[in-house]
């Protein structure tokens, strides 16, 4: 909030200026939300699945230490080299050292929000390693030098014409071509070359099974597999919260994930990686990066249950109207708004306020994270820590004083009404954000309290009052 140009409200306002873009952005995401509704209703035990998933995750978070060690032991036994990274710097250095040892200067990477958070691409490129994102949406965002705006649909905020323009500029497609199939075919040909020539492939991790030491990567494009199967060095980066105890639990999580994310019954590729091929090296990096700190915050620890399905973004009306980039954080939307303050409270102090607390997110969430309650709780923490915008503090103090003393409240009310009734321009001006796109309520002649004091007779009976809203003819807009 300190940096006015970067806060959510300002970035959202800029996004909203393009009304047509908001129309289809909102429409496209709502369509996915509806697909999710249809898919979830095909499973009668949907709510029980959510509950089970949520409880498994609770159990994992309470026993994370043990499950991580169990996973490490089993993965190591399988031949995976397991590394531990406390933060982005350590993570990036590990990736670089693996590549350097092999003399590899080119890597292909499938979707991984964690490596986005770590700014791995920038780090490697600075050191002379070329990285190409192989998820089509992430690839487009990379070409355009923008972070992903959505964790599942990284370039959902872009029109196909804009994507055509990016392809023309960077890949030399014909100018004006924006047909998605044509562009996808082109990208595919281009990426095929990348897959074949890259010796190293990095993937994200959706789930890691403690019991077996394997990890699961879900993609619709098969790009993670393509990279991994052709690579000589395979690296997986995972947040420490991605553990599930048993392989059998995947029956719950995979059903929830695809339906919540896109309304599909199953993700096209749910690939289990357990051990390296002959002659291949397989590395896995367990990354903390603020997660153990979040685990230590009782009111926010459940945010670590997230399986990154994106459903809370698709359902969030604020997200749909304001676009993912307005959250100025790798993970955007409601879940981003409860994760980001843990990473940098000052920088992300605005995000928990970028919500109406409508609660839709918490109720679509497949692992039942109480997202909107956590948004409320973050607001309390941010104010307590002194990161709320100054003006908000003053306004609220005045409000608390007014509402806690009945005398001043009714005086202010009358004064406020007098202003409304008599000099509307004093309130209805551009300094009042309410008035920009909304009329003020008409000030009535008397408040309810005044009416009540005038009409109420002891014993409960009151004079019949003239109904303020009697006949509909009077309502036609002037």
């Amino acid at each position: 909030m300190g940096n006015e140009t970067k806060d959510h409200a300002a970035l959202a306002e800029a996004f909203i200026r393009d009304e047509e873009r908001v129309d289809w952005h909102d429409g496209a995401l709502w369509w996915i939300r509806q697909k999710r509704d249809i898919a979830s209703r095909q499973i009668p035990e949907w709510e029980a699945l959510r509950e089970a998933a949520s409880r498994i995750k609770s159990h994992v978070l309470s026993n994370l230490h043990d499950y991580l060690l169990e996973f490490e032991a089993n993965a190591t036994r399988n031949g995976i080299r397991v590394h531990w990274a406390a933060d982005a710097a350590e993570h990036n250095a590990i990736v670089y050292s693996i590549l350097k040892e092999k003399g590899i200067r080119q890597m292909v990477k499938s979707k991984s929000m964690l490596t986005e958070e770590c700014h791995l691409n920038e780090y490697l490129i600075e050191r002379g390693v070329d990285v190409i994102n192989s998820d089509l949406g992430e690839y487009i965002q990379q070409l355009d030098n923008e972070p992903p705006s959505h964790i599942v649909l990284p370039c959902i905020h872009k029109r196909k014409e804009e994507i055509g323009e990016i392809f023309h500029e960077h890949l030399g497609t014909e100018k004006g071509v924006s047909d998605p199939t044509t562009l996808t075919r082109f990208a595919r040909r281009h990426l095929r070359d990348v897959f074949i020539t890259r010796r190293a492939a990095l993937t994200g991790v959706n789930f890691a099974v403690a019991e077996t030491g394997e990890y699961i990567v879900c993609t619709n494009e098969g790009n993670a597999d393509m990279g991994a199967h052709l690579s000589e060095v395979q690296i997986a980066s995972m947040g420490i919260e991605k553990i599930v105890p048993k392989k059998a639990h995947m029956g719950i999580f995979l059903r929830l994930l695809a339906r919540s994310a896109t309304g599909q019954p199953i993700t096209i590729y749910s690939s289990h990686f357990k051990k390296p091929r002959e002659g291949q090296e397989m590395h896995l990096i367990l990354v903390d990066m603020g997660r153990s700190r979040q685990l230590g915050r009782p009111e926010f620890r459940d945010s670590l249950k997230c399986i990154k399905c994106g459903a809370c973004m698709n359902t969030c009306p604020v997200y749909r109207k304001s676009g993912g980039l307005s959250y100025h954080n790798t993970i955007s939307g409601p879940i981003g708004a409860i994760l980001a303050p843990n990473l940098d409270m000052k920088k992300h102090a605005d995000l928990p306020f970028a919500s109406t607390l409508c609660g839709s997110c918490s109720n679509v969430c497949p692992v039942k994270i109480n997202i909107h309650d956590q948004l409320y709780q973050w607001r309390q923490v941010i104010v307590k820590e002194g990161y709320a915008a100054h003006t908000k503090v003053l306004g609220m103090k005045a409000m608390a004083w007014t509402f806690s003393s009945p005398g001043s409240f009714s005086t202010l009310g009358k004064a406020g009404r007098w202003v409304l009734n008599n000099i509307p321009v004093a309130v209805n001006n551009r300094f009042n954000p309410w008035f920009r796109q909304r009329d003020m309520p008409e000030g009535p002649k008397e408040s309810f309290s005044e009416w009540y004091a005038r009409n109420h007779r002891p014993g409960g009976a009151v004079d019949p009052a003239p109904k303020a809203s009697s006949d509909l003819q009077s309502i036609q807009p002037e």
Partner: protein
């Protein structure tokens, strides 16, 4: 039944007819209604802005005003939810607890406590119902579209008792309107855009009257309706249920 009427501060100040309709409706249905004159606000605007701590004086005043009734009834889901979830007192926690468990939003009070099955109301119009989120998802006044669970709706049940009233279907039946307390000014652009989209859903589907249980959302939507001069009237559900 001895009922205390709790009105959100902005209803008292800007929408007295909503308070009057609520009071008359409750009396019509046989309640003895008291309106504690010293009431101000439940403290929600502060708490939702992160200033829960500042709201403590409001809480104490609230307990003083509303202790000892059979029920506290409020024509706002949002304020009701806030009191239910957050009302605490230093010296009178027992009273605060009693209030928390006996405060009802108007429509749930009618359907669940008074068990109203018919209403002497008549309203010959096409009506669109705006489900305010705190009432719906917080107090479970209606089933939410996110869950795989059987549908129900307390406000709809009451509206269908009104003679002549035709409830219209919306494209998005429970999308937030974007009011959100101080969100409506701090995130003005998003708030307005959300409100515009909600209002247009009602207009597109032929609503003559847009109603709901929370005047705060309705004040925001009405502001948009009037600015855009749209052919729809905004009324609180108490006003409709009190029509005869």
């Amino acid at each position: 039944m001895n009922v205390a009427l709790f009105l959100p501060c902005y209803v008292d100040q800007f929408y007295p007819q909503v308070g009057i309709s609520t009071l008359q409706l409750l009396e019509k249905l046989g309640c003895t209604v008291t309106y504690p004159l010293n009431q101000t606000c439940c403290g929600q605007p502060m708490a939702n802005s992160g200033f829960e701590k500042l709201a403590q004086d409001c809480n104490e005043l609230f307990v003083k005003n509303f202790a000892g009734f059979d029920a506290v009834v409020c024509p706002s889901g949002s304020c009701t939810l806030h009191v239910k979830d957050h009302l605490h007192s230093h010296d009178r926690e027992g009273d605060a607890q009693q209030i928390r468990s006996h405060i009802y939003e108007l429509t749930e009070f009618l359907t669940d406590v008074l068990k109203v099955e018919r209403l002497p109301a008549r309203f010959m119009h096409k009506v669109g119902l705006h489900q305010s989120c705190h009432g719906q998802r917080g107090l479970h006044l209606s089933q939410m579209s996110e869950l795989v669970a059987p549908p129900f709706s307390k406000p709809e049940k009451l509206l269908t008792m009104v003679e002549g009233l035709e409830l219209i279907a919306l494209d998005r039946k429970d999308e937030c309107c974007g009011f959100g307390g101080t969100f409506c000014v701090f995130e003005e652009a998003v708030s307005s855009r959300m409100g515009i989209d909600r209002v247009e859903d009602h207009v597109r589907n032929g609503a003559e009257v847009l109603t709901g249980g929370d005047m705060s959302c309705l004040m925001h939507l009405e502001g948009i309706v009037r600015r855009k001069k749209l052919p729809v009237r905004v009324m609180h559900i108490a006003e409709i249920l009190n029509q005869d």
